[in-house]
Amino acid sequence: MRPFDPRLLRFARSARLLLASGMLIGIVQTAAIVGFAWALAGLVTGFIEGRHAFELRGLIALFAASVVVRALAAWLWELTGLAGAARVRQELRKQVLAAAASLGPDRLRDRSSTELATVAGAGLDSLDGYFARYLPQLLLTGIATPLLVVAMWSADPLSGVIVALALPLIPVFMVLIGLATSAVQRRQWEALQELARAFLEVVGGLATLILHGRQHRQVTRLRAVTHDYRRRTMRVLRVTFLSGFVLELAGSLSVALVAVTAGLRLVDGTMDFLPALFVLVLAPEVFLPVRNVGAQFHASADGMAAAESAFAIIEEAADHRAQSEPGDTDAARVDSLSAAAPAPPGLHVRGLTVQRGDQRIVDAFDMDAARGQVSAIAGESGAGKSTVLDALLGFAPASGLVLLDGAPLTLDRIAWAGQRPQLVAGPIIDNVTLGARRIDTLLVQRCLALTGLAGLPLERTLGPGGSGLSGGQAQRLAVARALYRLLERDLPLLLLDEPSSALDEAAETALISSLRELAAEGRIVVVVAHRESVLRRADAVVRVGALEHV
């Protein structure tokens, strides 16, 4: 991992502000440290030389001021870091959401919805550790360390040289040890994952184990696995902790070296008391930021890994935009018929082909769905029925010809309900009128009645993901939502994917009657179904996978 990812500045502009203010605070804080050390050394030597507090009031004031500035700087570090992290999070979130919108469902299909929600949500929370703790120390290492070395050098060149020599040794040793341990650490991390999994598996599979009477030996097994893990891990840690050891040792030995050389020169009379005390106070401060960077490194690793996933989506969207630059939209991939041809009413699909990777999911699919009819798409499971609908909706990359009343099919002429209900948190009425231009309570009630949900209170609030409904109810509500869009906008085409798979026979019959009613008003209704009871009552059936018309 790189210590700092420049993409953070590119994608999150507020990170620049954060860096700039961080540098400013860093410089002020360093000045306060030097002032503090100078005042303290001056006070101690002053009192030892027999001067009274009143004579030393200037130094006392400098000391107090340095302490206050230092405390203020410490407070500002956290304040700007945390507030800045919150800003950067929101900025990245905005860009991830925009990127997801421009990528569309098809390019996001490799990522689960929970994964995406984590990338734009909880994942970004770990940036707090990065911005509020790691980055300040990294900046301080860059700003304070050289300034403090210069301050030491100007007071006493030899001490300056000692710390300047010791400092670079730290990263050198750490790299050497890092090289020696990185392979070991990877194994350690894997062992850790394995162990976490072992516990999860026993606890999660407990019901299954009990069913087979295998629960009793698990305690012994788990103890053995954990002890084995401890032995392996401790072997690794002995080496891993060496890097911390080197950091501590280099820091404390330099302080010791500064103290001893200064002491010896004081005895010789080749050095003054005041600068000696001054460099002694400063010496530990020089090493503090470097030590803290090491300590905060893993907090930063979590944060950067989170940012990394966000960058991946943002960059993918940018690449996608760059590739499809000159007016080549997804809709254009499905050719439109030349204007010269006659425009037959209804939905006409010719040679619709969907290819993902080297897999052809839908191969030259043809279909004619007339106005006023319920058409069914049938086929074996996995034959690509849902993919046909995805292609019609523009959610799957397709080639071929799709015409609705002679014009290319667009999303704004379709009302659709997918296989999964995809309900959202909020009142029932909000779910039914999703994306609607106007809220018509009577129409909402009619749509609910058409799907057999007449009794459902419109104001009842659903939880996230539409929780609070049974599977069958959720499915009907999704269909009601599609019907509302169909009727409110008076659209020509209704696409339903397995609308009755969770319904019993009576409910299914009622739903199909409703659909036939809607079709009879001159609309095109297309239903993906596998049940014979649905196919029997459709006006036309098209099979996917086989070109047979029934």
Binding site: I48, A53, F63, V68, L211, R223, L237, S252, S470, A529
Partner: protein, 564 residues
């Protein structure tokens, strides 16, 4: 401190994570020696430089020179030892912690705790338990060693100058108490304001991406995105406000440190002028507070870790009760002997409730299963079909009568009942190992040939050959296996266990329509002449079953959440 007291149960959980004293003490001692070296290094250096400025014969300095070098070394060495010893003790305790939690879970699993019924609660529990191993490392050890060193340092200063020691102690107490208080106030406030917003944002994001296609198809993606971003903005504002409190801890410690140094210098100066202490001792009194506060800086961090550990312990204690809650079957002291052969199953006006619930999930259920019979149990969701399945395998207790071959089930050992009545769960757990290991635990003496034969019977023969045999991995939580295949594997396990009565709980719940019927046919065919109770809300082909039983909901079924 302004936090609620830790409950008895949570304290017991934390006790599981606490290493025994003989493992804890070496780590605490190493930590204390390392921190003490930090203080001693500065004290010794200050003494050395001040004494040297008096230009004594160099001989008088040699002890200090040795001391400075020794403390520089010992600080790093003891720190290294502290980390090694501390981790070793914590890892040893991890085994106790995990097995302790598991031992508590076994008698109440799977229905005595919600943690095992819901996926996100399960991962939370596992995560919390693993986090508790940090408790000795981040709380007990540093707190103990810091307190030892702070006490020693203040005592040491007191031997040089009592009033300076008083100033140092006062600044330490005020600084640490203020820092810890502001920190816990800031944390409580963040919990109050940021926590709910964070939850709302996470839910909104899940809805946004969970319903992404629908939002797009309904022109509602932009509006949903606006809603998410509005919540994000509110969260950002709340975080910025909370940040002001979070930084106070460091500032308070810096101020207290400065006050301690200045105060010590000012109150020790008269002793210096009076000749009570020499110049070197004065320098030590002036400088030591710096190192003392560096050590004390650990305390606010410890208190933060402590708060997190306590919250985790409370959650674990809540999820894993120490005693089995009412409604979880307990093995009888003297179990009856098991009826031989394929028994009759008879339920008479049986009712049952989930542990922790006060209303019955099923009521007055009468059901008989003759040997070899195939019965379909249907009913709307929420009517208690899964409850009945769990009663039959004694995961939950019942009222009235459930007889197996004429013997009341509660008089049998629950393990024996499960050898007679097998269950294929709605979502069977697949272990993230190979296929063989996922089967063989149901019958440890089975060889590969037998395993392959049973896979053939449940219709997985071609699949297992295509996947390369029994060594094929099934993936984490069965990620490489479809819902229907998981059901078939579960049935294969049940067939290996060879229970004469099989309960199939919604085997087609995670299988799409066209495959559901094939799956049902295959499952029933593979069950052979066993008694089968098939639970399904979508029904089954009538020619496959002997009898249908309708389970009526106890009340207002349709309002029952789908997850129940």
């Amino acid at each position: 401190m302004s936090e609620p007291r830790l409950s008895q149960a949570a304290r017991a959980v934390l006790g599981l994570a606490r290493p025994p004293l003989h493992r804890l003490l070496p780590a605490i001692a190493a930590g204390a020696l390392s921190a003490a070296s930090t203080v001693a290094l500065l004290a010794c250096s200050a003494w050395l430089i001040t004494r040297a400025s008096e230009q004594p014969p160099i001989l008088f300095l040699s002890l200090a020179v040795v001391g400075v070098r020794a403390f520089a070394l010992s600080r790093a060495v003891f720190r290294y030892l502290e980390r090694l010893l501390g981790h070793d003790a914590a890892f040893r305790e991890l085994a106790e912690l995990r097995t302790g939690i598991l031992s508590r879970l076994i008698p109440i699993a799977p229905d005595g705790t919600r943690a095992l019924r819901r996926g996100e609660l399960l991962s939370r529990l596992v995560h919390d338990v693993d986090d508790l191993q940090e408790h000795p490392l981040r709380v007990i050890q540093p707190l103990a060693s810091t307190l030892v060193v702070l006490t020693a340092a203040v005592t040491g200063i007191a031997m040089l100058d009592a009033s300076a020691a008083g100033v140092l102690l006062a600044c330490l107490i005020v600084g640490v108490v203020l820092a810890v208080t502001t920190q816990s106030l800031a944390a409580a406030r963040a919990e109050r304001t940021i926590g709910p917003l964070r939850g709302a944002l996470a839910d909104a994001l899940l809805d946004h991406f969970g319903a992404f296609e629908t939002l797009r198809a309904f022109d509602a993606e932009g509006a949903s995105r606006e809603r998410v971003l509005a919540l994000g903005n509110a969260l950002q504002r709340a975080s910025a406000r909370a940040a002001a409190g979070a930084g106070l801890t460091a500032a308070v410690m810096a101020l207290a440190s400065g006050a301690a140094v200045l105060g010590s210098v000012l109150v020790a100066a008269p002793s210096l002028f009076a000749g009570d202490i020499g110049a070197p001792a004065f320098a030590v009194v002036a400088m030591v507070p710096l190192a003392v506060f560096e050590v004390a800086g650990a305390v606010p961090l410890v208190m933060q870790a402590r708060r997190i550990a306590h919250a985790g312990a409370e959650r674990v204690a809540g999820a894993v009760p120490a005693e089995a809650p009412a409604g979880v079957p307990v093995a009888p002291a003297r179990p009856a002997s098991v009826p031989a052969g394929a028994p009759h199953i008879a339920l008479r006006s049986l009712s049952a409730r989930w542990p922790g619930s006060d209303r019955p999930a099923i009521k007055d259920v009468d059901l008989t299963l003759a040997p070899g019979e195939r019965v379909l149990l249907q009913g709307p969701s929420g009517s208690g079909k899964t409850t009945l399945a769990h009663v039959l395998v004694r995961f939950i207790d019942y009222q009235s009568s459930y007889r197996i071959g004429g013997i009341e089930a509660r008089e049998l050992h629950p393990d024996s009942v499960r050898r007679i009545v097998g269950l294929c769960e709605q979502t069977p757990w697949l272990f993230d190992i190979d296929l063989r290991q996922n089967l063989v635990f149901a019958k440890p003496e089975a060889d590969d040939e037998e395993l392959l034969a049973v896979l053939e019977r449940v219709g997985l023969g071609d699949w297992v050959r295509a996947r390369g045999g029994l060594d094929a991995p099934v993936g984490e939580r069965g990620a490489l296996v479809s819902g229907g295949q998981a059901q078939r594997i579960a049935l294969a396990r049940a067939l290996l266990a060879d229970a004469p009565v099989l309960v199939l709980d919604e085997p087609t719940a995670n299988v799409d329509g066209a495959r559901a019927e094939t799956l049902l046919r295959d499952l029933l065919a593979a069950s052979g002449d066993r008694t089968v109770l098939l639970i399904s809300h979508t029904g089954a082909p009538t020619e496959l079953i002997d009898r249908i039983i309708d389970l009526e909901p106890t009340r207002e079924t349709d309002d029952t959440p789908a997850s129940a």
